[in-house]
């Protein structure tokens, strides 16, 4: 079996199973999808085991040959197979979990159809060997995200949320398209191979102070910011929680939103040439990490808390990319995929168990129900970066990398420390509020389709970080990275010499104090700083700003076009007055149109003769 075969299997197994299950469409057809995902996962593991030392570029098909050829092909290296393994694994567990979560929904076949096709699209994005194919995958995952956010289309809120996600993503996609055009214009190709080879052209331009590369990376960044929900294009992600919870776990935490990070890491050789944009990424990422952490601290909707924590973690990954720490960023992408989908799935379990109550003040307590309590605890500890959970390794690697890059900027360092503290605070708050506050009725028991994925994901959240610590340096083959390669012992010792780890302990301690022992503290703090609290509750006013200035401006412009320009300018002025003017001017020429063909033919001859005479 060749690598190409396994690549095709990995890519097509979800699609084929989705189509088969959709056509068959019986009640338990979803097990076909799960089988397909399993096959896909096995294929990706085979790819991982046989992964090439540097890269393999499979040429499949020439799609367009217009001077510059646009090919379809696959690009296998450490980065893409690593991503493929994580995506298929999380997707497999989400499929299994969904069997229980979506039981009884009348559109359950559509649901599995979309989820499996989403996985295929995501794999297409990962395995593509050129930016055009990436763009196809990029748009396809956007479409399936749109379908799945609006899955309960009978209600108005999911519909609006899906529209919002779609439109915000289109705004960002324009950036990606412009970047693709500029790359085509400057380097003449979109395939990774050609881009790598012709990257020196950009460097020469840079030497000649001809800064195309800044523009290109800025546009790529805008594209990545939309899909990865970076400020100020993050507004769609909290609202996307209107979809089913497993979808939030798969699409809006583990896979699709990390596509932007993947894109930046994949094109790291272009970003490396633009220090300007890279420092912008660092600042934006750290700001996002801090600000979104603040939002997670005041939110009460169980899913939106996790969504804000996702935003904050994505900010951290972006910051790492900006500081050329691509390996830590991708490493964190992997660990984050596991513990965040774990958190989402346990949140979904709580929602189911407390009868679709989503406010964390009123949900059923998970204190004495160990499957949920345990997975929440593991997820939150891992999210906050507590050793030895997986989040600790990846997050600390990012923080070490960032620390070495930004020591001279005290404000960035401060922002980072505050961000870490914030992460610990909100994850501990999430855990304590769900599991330790005195609560209502006993939780219902879950069936194995829910428990199994929770158990495995909890195991991965504990073990993946340490287990993949050595493996992750294989990414060196795919990425430009100057990461210092430490052994695990040295790494842990080193991490205790930085203040970040102590911030995690501090955060948990403060949170435990505030939410378990003295529950009056949060309300007192809120009374002290009502202004900041209100700003956070309003999510820094991004939505209000967009609604008041962009959406309504657009609407008023459309109104002007529809009601004023169309009615008065086009209809009245041009059509009515213009046509009467034409009539008056041209009525004198009517004589020419005699209606006799004979005269027309004579006219033709006359014209030919005049032409000939002119030539003589």
């Amino acid at each position: 079996m060749t690598l190409l075969f396994w690549t095709w299997t990995c890519l097509l197994a979800p699609t084929i199973s989705a189509v088969l299950a959709r056509v068959w469409a019986v009640r338990d057809a979803c097990w076909i999808n799960i089988l397909g995902m399993l096959v896909s996962w096995v294929a990706s593991v085979v790819l991982y085991i046989q992964q090439p030392n540097t890269f393999i570029n499979f040429y499949v098909y020439t799609w367009l040959d217009v001077g510059d050829a646009f090919n379809f092909g696959f690009w296998l290296d450490a980065l893409s197979v690593y991503m493929a393994v994580i995506i298929t694994l999380v997707s497999l567990f989400v499929h299994i979990y969904s069997v229980s979560y979506m039981r009884g929904d009348k559109d359950i076949n559509n649901y599995f159809f979309y989820v499996s096709l989403f996985t295929s699209a995501m794999l297409l994005l990962i395995l593509a060997d050129n930016l055009l194919m990436v763009f196809f995958g990029w748009e396809l995952v956007g479409v399936f995200s749109y379908f799945l956010i609006g899955f309960w289309y009978q209600k108005s809120y999911p519909l609006e949320a899906s529209f919002k996600a779609f439109i915000v993503n289109r705004v960002a996609d324009i950036g990606l398209m412009i970047a693709m055009g500029l790359l085509l214009y400057q380097l003449g190709s979109l395939s990774y191979m050609d881009l790598t080879v012709s990257q020196p052209i950009l460097l020469e331009g840079l030497v000649a102070n001809y800064r195309w590369v800044d523009l290109i990376s800025l546009m790529l960044l805008i594209g990545a910011m939309g899909k990865s929900a970076q400020m100020p294009l993050h507004v769609w992600l909290p609202d996307s929680m209107a979809g089913p919870t497993p979808i939030s776990a798969l699409i809006h935490a583990a896979t699709m939103v990390t596509a932007g990070v993947y894109l930046i890491a994949r094109l790291s050789f272009i970003f490396a040439l633009s220090p300007l944009v890279c420092s912008g990424i660092v600042i934006l990422g750290l700001l996002q990490m801090f600000l979104m952490g603040g939002l997670a601290l005041v939110e009460f909707d169980i899913k939106r808390v996790v969504a804000f924590s996702t935003l904050s973690q994505l900010g951290l990954m972006f910051a790492a990319c900006g500081a050329a720490g691509f390996i830590p960023a991708i490493y964190h992408l992997g660990t984050h995929a596991f513990f965040k989908s774990l958190l989402f799935l346990s949140a979904g379990a709580i929602i189911i168990a407390s009868n679709h109550e989503q406010d964390i003040r009123y949900t059923a307590s998970a204190r004495y129900y160990w499957p949920i309590h345990g997975s929440l605890l593991v997820g939150c500890l891992s999210l906050s970066g507590m050793p030895p959970f997986s989040g600790f390794f990846s997050k600390d690697m990012i923080l070490t990398t960032l620390n070495s890059q930004i020591t001279q900027y005290w404000y960035l360092n401060f922002l980072m420390i505050m961000g870490v503290l914030m992460t610990a605070l909100y994850s501990a708050r999430f855990y304590f509020m769900l599991c330790w506050t005195p609560k209502r009725e006993r939780i219902k028991t879950l069936d194995w389709q829910m428990k199994g994925p929770l158990l495995v994901l909890a195991f991965l959240s504990i073990a993946f970080g340490a287990g993949a610590y050595q493996e992750v340096f294989l990414l060196n083959n795919a990425l430009i990275d100057t990461l210092q390669r430490l052994s695990m012992n040295d790494f842990i010792i080193e991490s205790f010499s930085h203040p970040y780890i102590y911030m995690v302990f501090l955060g948990w301690a403060v949170s435990g104090l505030a939410y378990v022992y003295c529950p009056q503290i949060p309300s007192q703090v809120v009374e002290r700083i009502p202004m900041i609290y209100q700003i956070c509750r309003k999510q820094y006013g991004f939505d209000i700003f967009y609604q008041n200035y962009i959406v309504s401006a657009y609407q008023s412009i459309s109104f002007i076009f529809a009601k004023v320009i169309d009615r008065y300018v086009i209809d009245q002025t041009i059509l009515v007055n213009g046509s009467s003017l034409c009539l008056r001017l041209l009525s004198n020429f009517r004589v020419i149109q005699s209606g006799y063909i004979y005269e027309y033919v004579l006219g033709l001859f006359l014209a030919v003769i005049v032409l000939l005479v002119g030539l003589f």
Binding site: R590, G595, Y596, I597, Y598, Y600, V601, L602, L604, F605
Partner: protein
């Protein structure tokens, strides 16, 4: 040896035949349309001949577009003839004079 001038002359002759045909067949709109096609083909021969002479394919592009537009024109024209026949039971060009100003 064939020269470009012969082809130009040939296309001129075909074009003139087309014009004459239009003049002769005023009783039959379909025949007029066919003669117009003849004129178009004459023009196309010219294009191809000069394209060959200049070794430049842009003449072919022009012919391509002429062919496409002529096909569109034929489709629309024939549809109109069908409608006319339905209404007046004739396709004599001279009979359609309801828009004409009364002298």
């Amino acid at each position: 040896m064939i020269e470009v001038t012969y082809l130009v002359l040939l296309s001129c002759v075909v074009f003139v035949i087309g014009i004459v045909g239009v003049g002769l067949n005023r009783n039959n709109l379909v025949a007029i349309l066919m003669n117009i096609e003849l004129m178009l083909i004459a023009v196309n021969i010219n294009f191809i001949a000069f394209s060959n002479y200049h070794q430049n394919l842009e003449g072919h592009i022009a012919v391509f577009f002429v062919l496409a537009i002529a096909a569109a024109e034929a489709a629309i024209g024939l549809a109109i003839f069908v409608k006319l026949y339905e209404r007046y039971h004739s396709i004599q060009a001279d009979k359609f004079s309801s828009l004409k100003e009364l002298a």
